[in-house]
């Protein structure tokens, strides 16, 4: 095939990462430190997710990569190519067919199965970071379950915007114990975090791995009088007509015309193939 070890990383490194993954699965939501390696891509491009994927992939796997829900953006294409070259695994754009899915900033619309693994790229794993910059202190807060500060952040949201304006990376409590940053997925995806598949989170620069095992309780933090809401743009998809998927807003021209389309490109494509049509498709047909 080529001169790389399977999936780029050497076996010792993969073993080290797998140990971190197992520990993360055993203690849901806990950030496990690991010896993050230099990867042939810059930090912020998914080095953590790539290392977790590399340690997770087997030659039989089918790999899918999405970036903000799309299979065809630069980041997704690069990482897919990277594993095609270094692991020789099959790749796909269909959520249904993938066994390992690496993602940046989205959870696929399709319900994931128990034989699938989803790997999230994480820029900043520490949900308390912006309120308490000292790592020594945040670690202590996690270990003592002192999470009042998380609600201070939500309080600030409401006092400044009249509602909890945190729209992505919305903090959750996992298995009634650890408060976790679910990576910058939209809060629309938060309810999906309780799923059948294994969810792994990798932060390369920050050298942390954490996980949510299947069927684990994941609660989005909120106030009694300002309950959590999984919001999305109040439109159907202009291409496939879906009412239940997370939408991207696309500005069409200088006149301010816009369209809303599914951010999950595979979901949108499969719906259109099944004959669903949205507003623009109807106009084009007319």
């Amino acid at each position: 095939m080529n001169e790389y070890n399977f999936a780029y990383l050497d076996e010792q490194t993969k073993r080290m990462i797998r140990r971190a993954i197992l520990k993360a699965l055993a203690v849901p939501g806990y950030q496990v430190p690991f010896a993050s390696r230099e990867m042939p891509m810059p930090y912020g491009w998914g080095t953590g997710g790539v290392q977790v994927s590399a340690a997770t992939l087997t030659p039989e796997d089918t790999f899918k990569v999405i970036d903000q829900g799309a299979d065809d953006t630069t980041n997704a294409v690069s990482i897919r190519k990277f594993f095609e070259n270094t692991a020789g695994v099959k790749t796909t754009e269909e959520t249904e067919k993938a066994t390992v899915i690496q993602t940046r900033h989205r959870t696929p619309e399709a319900k994931l199965r128990k034989d699938q693994i989803i790997v999230y790229q994480v820029p900043i794993p520490e949900p308390l970071r912006f309120l308490e910059p000292r790592e020594t202190e945040t670690r202590k807060m996690h270990s003592l379950e002192e999470y009042g500060l998380m609600h201070v952040k939500l309080y600030e949201d409401i006092s400044q915007h009249g509602a909890i304006s945190t729209a992505y990376a919305y903090p959750v409590k996992v298995s009634d114990r650890y408060v976790m940053d679910p990576s910058p997925i939209p809060k629309f995806d938060n309810p999906k975090l309780e799923m059948d598949a294994i969810q792994l989170f990798g932060a390369g620069r920050e050298q942390r791995i954490y996980a949510v095992p299947p069927h684990t309780k994941v609660v989005s933090l909120d106030f009694e009088d300002y309950p959590f809401e999984a919001t999305k743009a109040d439109h159907p998809c202009d291409l496939c007509g879906a009412e239940d998927s997370y939408l991207d807003e696309v500005i069409m021209d200088d006149a301010g015309n816009r369209m809303f389309v599914c951010s999950d490109t595979d979901y949108c494509r499969s719906r259109r193939e099944a004959g669903h049509v949205g507003r623009l498709a109807e106009e084009n047909a007319a």
Binding site: L131, L144, G148, L149, V152, Y155, S159, Q160, F223, E224
Partner: protein
């Protein structure tokens, strides 16, 4: 009446140097004790040992907890001690920015302790924050402003509100009026006195300002080189000092 706080034989060394040594006293509910002494006399070290910020090398700090009665806070587990410092204890820092979250609104600063002990109703938390702003004489309209937009005196009052919102029983204060100009100091002292009486607080105030202890403290402890050289009723110690160092300290104050 049982003491709220019993300090027994506290000692803290920095290598060979003594931070404070052999300090013992009882503090009863509702009592305000001042600790005076020049810079480096060990008063801040002692305060930090009592408040759990520093681990003493010897001695006990026994606090009368609501649930379990007297407990040595030096040997209690860290989660318990941290819980204590969020509920029954309060610590007012000399510099408000050490005791406030400067990037969080005044309301959020006051609400933090409430949220830390499990309050989850935004409206109720906000109402209490506004109530406390009023009690420390900050306008309600400032509730969403950050402390960085406040004057020094307001920051200090906000710090006090943030500390007292959970109704603590013991307040540690480290030079609470230091760095404030005189008129602002007076207002703060008046406010503290009122709150202490209203809430029946016990307090330990470290300061080098004898005027502050005369107005706030019932009792006084004078420290020098890590040791307590004299202790007693505040006005008695200041008006009839027995120890050479206290006499020097009292006679060194400029009369206005």
């Amino acid at each position: 009446m049982t003491p709220l706080l019993q300090v027994k034989g506290i000692e803290k060394r920095y290598g060979a140097r003594i931070g404070c040594s052999d300090v013992s006293f009882d503090l009863f509910p509702g009592e305000v004790m001042g600790i005076v002494g020049e810079s480096g006399s060990g008063k801040s070290t002692l305060l930090n040992c009592m408040a759990g910020h520093l681990e003493p090398d010897a001695g006990q700090v026994i606090f009368g907890t609501r649930a379990d009665g007297p407990v040595d806070t030096v040997t209690m587990s860290e989660p318990e001690r941290r819980m204590l410092s969020r509920t029954d204890w309060a610590f007012v820092h000399q510099h408000a920015r050490d005791g406030l979250r400067m990037s969080v609104s005044a309301g959020g600063n006051i609400g933090e302790r409430l949220m830390a002990v499990g309050d989850r109703h935004y409206g109720a938390i906000r109402d209490r924050a506004i109530d406390w702003l009023g009690r420390v004489e900050i306008e309600e309209s400032r509730v969403d402003d950050r402390p960085s937009a406040f004057s020094g005196g307001m920051q200090q009052r906000l710090q006090i509100a943030r500390n007292l919102v959970t109704g603590p029983r013991l307040v540690f204060m480290d030079e609470p009026t230091g760095g404030l100009d005189v008129s602002v100091q007076a207002r703060l002292l008046d406010l503290l006195r009122g709150l202490v009486r209203e809430m029946g607080l016990s307090a330990i105030i470290v300061t080098h300002d004898l005027a502050v202890v005369r107005l706030l403290a019932d009792r006084l402890m004078v420290m020098k080189s890590g040791h307590v050289v004299e202790a007693g009723l505040t006005d008695q110690v200041l008006d009839d000092p027995q120890h050479a160092y206290t006499q020097l300290l009292v006679s060194s104050v400029l009369q206005v």
